[in-house]
């Protein structure tokens, strides 16, 4: 890196108590800035919430669409970004100060320069506005998330889907690849509600915040509780016709390993992590680890209601610690 980074001293940050917090606030200009083909404005927020099926409300953070100082909105998950392969992309992030919380955007699976990779301790944690510039080189399913104090900020929900369509546009997975009639995005995540009442920089100045141990009590699909709501939520549970091609963009958005099963339907895996597989794979179930993505197509040949289960596995024992459910209805 061209400059030597220094962490922010707590005294300067208004925290008190001395010692260093390993946060690197900056908002530099973008190297080699050009005119973008597509721009996404995102403003970090820390005032979202999600009401669970049991009636409890959990604090969530994320990114709102648009500029400004993040008042209102409170989106969870953050609004999806969708662009076309070959486009030069700007993601314009506006984040707060050391008092309000610095943040970054890392486009997971996108591979840009160091400055535009959005990893705080390799570049900077945004404390104003920064324009991430990159080129969408490979069609596929990705996601973006905050990479400041990531252990906390990603758990707090600071992520959203990122879809790159091939030049053919939506309806084709990748150039030379399969077409689809309908798609769903399943970002499957677990929530440990005991982590959801902390300061944005908790742990970055030292101290035991319990971040070594995730003990989730909720299991969700794309921001919808997988206990009951995801079974019927129209944005999660698709209805398709016999013979239609259903594309499932599966994002393992939590920290624990997952096992997804398609209720007896057979899926064909065409891509993973934004790259086409050399040969497709037939799968009735997929085991995935944190931040993997799989693109699979189901062409049901019989009507019926198929219950999809996403099991969240203990990272030591492999035991199922929770399950999220949704449904594919074939008519």
């Amino acid at each position: 890196m061209s400059k030597i980074l220094r962490p922010v001293n707590m005294m300067h940050a208004g925290g008190g108590g001395g010692g260093s917090c390993y946060i690197y606030p900056d908002s530099p200009s973008t190297p080699g800035l050009v005119t973008a083909d597509v721009t996404f404005n995102r403003t970090a927020h820390m005032n979202g919430s999600m009401t669970m099926d049991d009636g409890n409300t959990i604090t969530m953070w994320g990114f709102n669409e648009g500029g400004g100082m993040g008042m209102g909105g409170g989106a969870f998950p953050s609004p999806a970004m969708r662009m076309t392969q070959g486009q030069v992309v700007h993601t314009v992030l506006t984040a707060g100060s050391m008092m309000q919380g610095t943040h970054t955007i890392h486009h997971h699976g996108i591979e840009p320069s160091t400055e535009n990779d959005g990893v705080g301790h390799y570049s900077f944690d945004v404390n104003g506005t920064y324009t991430y510039q990159w080129k969408a080189s490979h069609a596929g399913t990705y996601f973006y998330h905050c990479h400041t104090n990531t252990v906390l900020h990603a758990e707090m929900g600071m992520y959203g889907a990122l879809i790159i369509d091939p030049p053919e546009g939506p309806g084709t997975l990748f150039s030379g690849g399969p077409t689809y009639d309908k798609e769903v995005i399943w970002a499957c995540d677990e929530i440990d509600s005991s982590w959801h009442n902390k300061n944005w920089r908790a742990g970055t100045c030292g101290g035991d915040e319990g971040f070594n141990s995730l003990n989730p009590d909720y299991f969700i699909i794309t921001g919808v509780d997988g206990a009951q709501s995801a079974l019927t939520d129209a944005s999660i549970a698709p209805t398709v016709n016999v013979g239609d091609s259903l594309l499932i963009r599966y994002i393992c958005a939590g920290y624990l390993p997952q096992r997804i099963t398609f209720g007896g339907l057979n899926a064909t895996i065409h891509m993973s992590d934004g790259r086409a597989l050399p040969q497709t794979v037939q799968a009735a179930t997929i085991k995935a680890s944190s931040a993997e993505r799989y693109d699979l197509i189901i062409v049901p040949d019989q009507s019926g209601v198929y219950e999809v289960t996403v099991e969240f596995l203990h990272w030591v024992t492999g035991a199922v610690v929770g399950t999220a459910r949704t449904r594919i209805t074939v008519v």
């Binding site: 890196m1 591979e111 030292g206 035991d208 070594n212 934004g274 790259r275 050399p278 680890s289 030591v316």
Partner: protein, 333 residues
């Protein structure tokens, strides 16, 4: 168990306690088999974790005065005869095992044993102490063992995609309560609760920290761990998980080519940015291709990026200290 000759490592200085070889795993192919000899000394001591807590470890070390966590990687060729001498300097019983290849049986405290074996299948293996399982392995008695195909310097197995340099990453999950119990000769009764997450026995430091950039301590600068290359320097990484946890391995800046899992070549080579690493001696073999970061605009050929585990609990130390966990740097020079 008798406690003896504890070596204070970490912030107090680690000189003489690290692996003697510099840089990545070096190899020259041969058309013929030969005998490879190596002596490991089973030693113990304390290593300071990033939050200042001293944790007890045991290792397969290069001398009686060192504590090497993990043991120095061994690289041989298919068909070689390997002669490993284990000198157990401790009072407890230990063993040297490579699953499917060799098992020394019990090496009593204070005793030495020569194990001789031949390896027939190219690939990545872990040597470890199978006694008192899984505690001795978790305490640090483990290391990487690489078997090259006969006459080849650039393949994982005959006909595999090729590379120009190779590294071994041995990862571990550390529950200091378990380590302390074992140091007292007791069997841990508590549920495994890892507080530290290491790669080649080390964790990350970040800019501004006094140990940042210290190759003996900072996994982002340790020569056996940090990937260094220029465009085209295709790099084989043999990832071996000594720990109890399944993990998610995430590479920035390039997708990797996924060649093998748990020592088995995959039917098709997938390009992945994130992979599930199985636990309890699970392994992955991948090639980091060192291609121009494909989404950079303008395109760049230089930069610094992380490889980190994405089950982000691993990115912490002592329950906090994000960025002081299991990660390293990928340098594009």
């Amino acid at each position: 168990m008798k406690r003896r000759d504890f070596l204070k490592l970490g912030t107090a200085g680690i000189t003489g306690a690290v692996s003697t070889s510099l840089g990545l795993l070096c190899w020259s192919p041969r058309a013929f088999a030969k005998t490879i000899s190596k002596t490991f000394y089973i030693t113990d001591g304390y290593i300071a974790m990033p939050d200042g807590v001293d944790v007890y470890f045991k290792g397969f070390s290069n001398s009686t005065s060192q504590l090497n966590i993990p043991g120095e990687s061994v690289i041989v060729q298919q068909g070689d005869t390997v002669e490993i001498t284990i000198v157990n300097t401790l009072s407890s019983d230990h063993s040297f095992v490579i699953d499917g290849v060799v098992d020394s049986g019990i090496i009593n405290g204070g005793q030495s044993k020569l194990v001789s074996f031949t390896v027939n299948n190219a690939g990545s293996y872990m040597f470890y102490d199978k006694l008192n399982a899984p505690y001795n392995r978790l305490l640090g008695l483990h290391g990487g063992f690489a078997v090259m195909p006969t006459g080849s310097s650039n393949e994982l197995y005959n006909g595999s995609p090729t590379f120009v340099q190779q590294y071994v990453w041995v990862t571990n999950d550390i529950d200091p309560i378990w380590h302390d119990e074992v140091s007292r000769g007791r069997t841990p009764l508590s549920t495994f609760n890892p507080y530290y997450f290491t790669i080649n026995g080390r964790t990350m430091r970040v800019p501004g920290h006094p140990e940042y950039g210290n190759p003996d301590i900072d996994s982002g600068y340790n020569q056996q761990t940090r990937l260094e290359g220029s465009i085209g320097d295709r790099t084989l990484v043999r990832i071996l998980n000594a720990g109890m946890c399944m993990h998610s391995v995430h590479f920035h800046a390039n997708h990797v080519e996924w060649l093998a899992e748990n020592g088995q070549a995959r039917n098709a080579v997938w390009k992945k940015d994130t992979l599930l690493l199985p636990n309890n001696i699970g392994s992955l073999d991948v090639i980091y291709p060192y291609e121009v970061p494909p989404d950079s605009w303008p395109q760049v050929t230089k930069g610094y990026f992380p490889m980190h585990f994405h089950d982000e609990m691993t990115q912490t130390a002592g329950g906090g200290l994000y960025q002081f966990g299991l990660a390293t740097t990928i340098a594009f020079k």
